[in-house]
Amino acid sequence: MRDRQTVAACPYFVMENAGYCDESFNSLQSGTSDEDMVEIAGATLDFSSTDDVPPLDRDYVSGYTSYNGVTEGVNGVPKLMDLLDEPLPGVGTYEDFNTIDWVREKSKDRDRHREITNKSKESTWALMKSVSDAFSGWLLMLLIGLMAGALAGGIDISAHWLTDLKGGVCLNGFWFNHEHCCWNSNETTFVERDKCPQWKSWAELIIGTAEGSFAYIVNYVMYVCWALLFAFLAVSLVRAFAPYACGSGIPEIKTILSGFIIRGYLGKWTLVIKTITLVLAVSSGLSLGKEGPLIHVACCCGNILCHVFTKYRKNEAKRREVLSAAAAVGVSVAFGAPIGGVLFSLEEVSYYFPLKTLWRSFFAALVAAFTLRSINPFGNSRLVLFYVEFHSPWHLLELVPFILLGIFGGLWGAAFIRANIAWCRRRKTTRLGHYPVLEVLVVTAVTAVLAFPNEYTRMSTSELISELFNDCTLLDSSKLCDYINVNITKSSNELADRPASTNVYMAMWQLALALVFKMLITVVTFGMKVPSGLFIPSMAVGAIAGRLLGVAMEQLAYYHHDWVIFRGWCSPGADCITPGLYAMVGAAACLGGVTRMTVSLVVIMFELTGGLEYIVPLMAAAMTSKWVADAIGREGIYEAHIRLNGYPFLEAKEEFSHKTLAMDVMRPRRSDPPLSVLTQDSMTVEDVETLITETSYSGFPVVVSHESQRLVGFALRRDLTISIENARRRQDGIVSTSRVFFTEYTPPQAPSSPAPLKLRSVMDLSPFTVTDHTPMEIVVDIFRKLGLRQCLVTHNGRLLGIITKKDILKHMAQMANRDPDSILFN
């Protein structure tokens, strides 16, 4: 375990009372409750070998409640303790930027549950406690749903308002955005849906007129100024209060859910700053969305609310179950798609997703969606973001353009990932990364300056997607829907295909320019030091491409309805091609190409649009885009960012297909110094301390003796240091020459020698071992399925070496011809 402590865990040693790194340390004050004080009466068993500690005979301990299944070998936390030892605060917690021990956490939880169940038979109060313990999970989900829904509603309302603030102000009440300002007005016309006297653009306020080129210039300048102001505020707040609030958050949350610890990433300051700056970043016109950051916000809510319940506060594995549900809540409030959210959490974000979490996530996502609906940010009591009104059928032959859109999505996705990673790597390594504030301002300025002239980039991206998804009826008056109305006799529901007018062609040109602009600017925007999400920009790119193709197909079908491909089903006067559907399919294809989502993408899309008839085209496009993108590059955007940052994330989807054995990967290698071990009864306190200070490993195996190298257990560095410090301060007679015993029974000491130190309680009595000839496939599988941090390697029953998660990641990187030194954390 080469522990490169890149960031010191707790650098606050100078402050006398500074103490812990994070608020989550508050839990340590109360002491752990699961370290029970159980004494085993002297079991006098006779065994031949003298340096063996005899295994425990279960008959002797049947009278006591024993939680240590030594013979079972699964429970890792030793329960047999000396009566004098009390549970120490700090033992059983983890350092920053380390991986948790899933097995230990899960077994701690099982023990706690068993204790509560056993006690519940004793009294009514204990029964109530056990009921409330079972109920606490559901209560927590309810609270998370409420809090996340409320925050998301607030974010939506504020973002809409701030976005419109770039264009003007409402005189009725400055808190109304453009649409709500003109809500009650009678001045709106069919052509200009948003015109009303209460809404004043900045040109009207400053120079008095709304028309003319000078007014245009004033509007332009004000737009750019507001955009720069918002972006500057966002990046300054992030930098000043919560640097962890930048970026999307999904790669880090994926890593956290797989067992990594990043203290402060899901804290309350991060929550507040992320919420506030997300609104600012989205309103500044940058090409980013708010879905990824909303997932981060929801996970922060989940983490903060976990502190209310002891069951989740103290157990890292249980907390991660809650965080998986919180991620589902995040997607649910971002899109108004609860089922899609649960599937997204299952597919993309979570590492371990037990079935119980599935039902709870669904509950939390529903509560959040319901809360969002009651806040009603969209003003139309609709839950979904881009509700489509049309239900026209599609023809089988249209699958060809849908698959074309899928290919486009896959190609764009792969290209985007490559370009974005290259840009982020440049930001990481060169001087570009030294000027984050300047970078944000420059990108915002470029975006604002280039976006204002084109009306399709000036409007917010969600509005653009809504307009593109919408099919044109007679009730629409936008430029995109300005068809030449020929022979209109029917009602407005079913419109035949019509030829396009010049307005539509102009709109097509503008959309094509918008497409190129968005494709390029999103590469630079994603990953900046403001909260930024990726879903909406990708969907916008796909929607524009889809709409362009749809209109092209529509016009082709109208003008060449006698071609053989159109003849069967697209007679003149029939409504055969719906460009809005092409936009939907294009959006799904591009999003799938970037994130490599499959089921969750389709479910999110049809929950977003309400169009259940269109599942098959969506699936076709999503699958095609995933295949094409996977053929070019294996990883989605989030995995690519994880690899860029060097997080110790063991990818669950990759298969390990090499024929190496455990002894090829284990440490120490042939040229390395031998394994640093602790012996069970022949080391002094000073020896242990020297070993700890001289090396940087995060754990040490405990063996019977140096000669026999027979395994006793495994002790973590952190637990050892805390115990020794505590012993030196609290216990009498512990000096540097005191003997350290990991055995169960300490032999009687001579009266002149110092008191012995018993450290058996901090040792893990059931470390996982494999033999040196175990194939690495099996070892990787064990690590993945059980969530191990380290695994000991034995040969003929004797301890030979150790494999850690980092070694495995390095080995996999080497096998894939990547740089093994890019794995940074332990």
């Binding site: 402050m15 069919f190 919560a242 930048c246 990043i262 309350k268 952190r718």
Partner: protein, 197 residues
């Protein structure tokens, strides 16, 4: 200074809860106090023969939300009314202007507080400190990255239980701890680019 540090530590948690509770209460209340400004029936009528396309807005209730009640004055004659109305689409919409108002005001309030606090931390506090404590105190080692000793951490872990004498120092220390935390985060994100490239 103490109140500012208090604010610095307590603001996020309390305001967060206040925010959420306020929003929730408001959204629950909206069904009772519905002003007439908050409902409308919007009818969109496309162009028909010589008549231009028009949009009609009136605040009527749900049962009156149809073409005949809302489209006033009717632009076509008697026998065309039915054909005209068939093309019109009327939707009933509700909103809660109170929720919007409260949300925006809360948001601006929190944003203002944060900006003030940021201004205070970056500009005023060094000036104040220099005036109160003299120049020497300012040369605190800002680069105190942690000691790599393993036992330093243990020391902190255990010494937490011994609390200081009064609240004032506690708050001060809490704020100092938070600032160091932010500094560490800033170093790893912005300077060393270790996390969140």
């Amino acid at each position: 200074e103490i109140t500012m540090s208090l604010i610095g530590m307590k603001v996020p948690m309390q305001l967060c809860l206040l925010l959420c509770s306020l929003r929730f209460i408001l959204s629950a209340e909206k069904s009772d106090a519905k002003s007439s400004r908050d409902i409308r029936c919007k009818c969109i009528c496309p162009p028909y023969k010589d008549v231009q396309g028009m949009i009609y807005n009136q605040n009527v209730s749900l049962k009156d939300c149809n073409c005949l009640h809302v489209v006033d004055p009717m632009p076509v004659e008697g026998k065309d009314v039915e054909a005209y109305c068939l093309r019109c689409e009327c939707t009933y919409e509700e909103r809660s202007s109170g929720t919007i108002k409260v949300t925006i005001i809360i948001y601006l309030f929190i944003l203002g507080l944060l900006l003030l606090y940021m201004f205070y931390l970056t500009m005023l506090e060094p000036v104040l400190k220099r005036r109160l404590f003299g120049h020497s105190q300012l040369i605190q080692s800002e680069d105190d990255v942690g000691d790599q000793q393993p036992f330093a951490n243990a020391h902190n872990v255990l010494s937490r239980s011994r609390s200081q004498s009064n609240m004032l120092n506690k708050v001060e220390h809490a704020q100092q701890r938070w600032r160091r935390q932010v500094q560490e985060q800033r170093k790893s994100v912005f300077d060393r680019h270790v996390v969140l490239s």
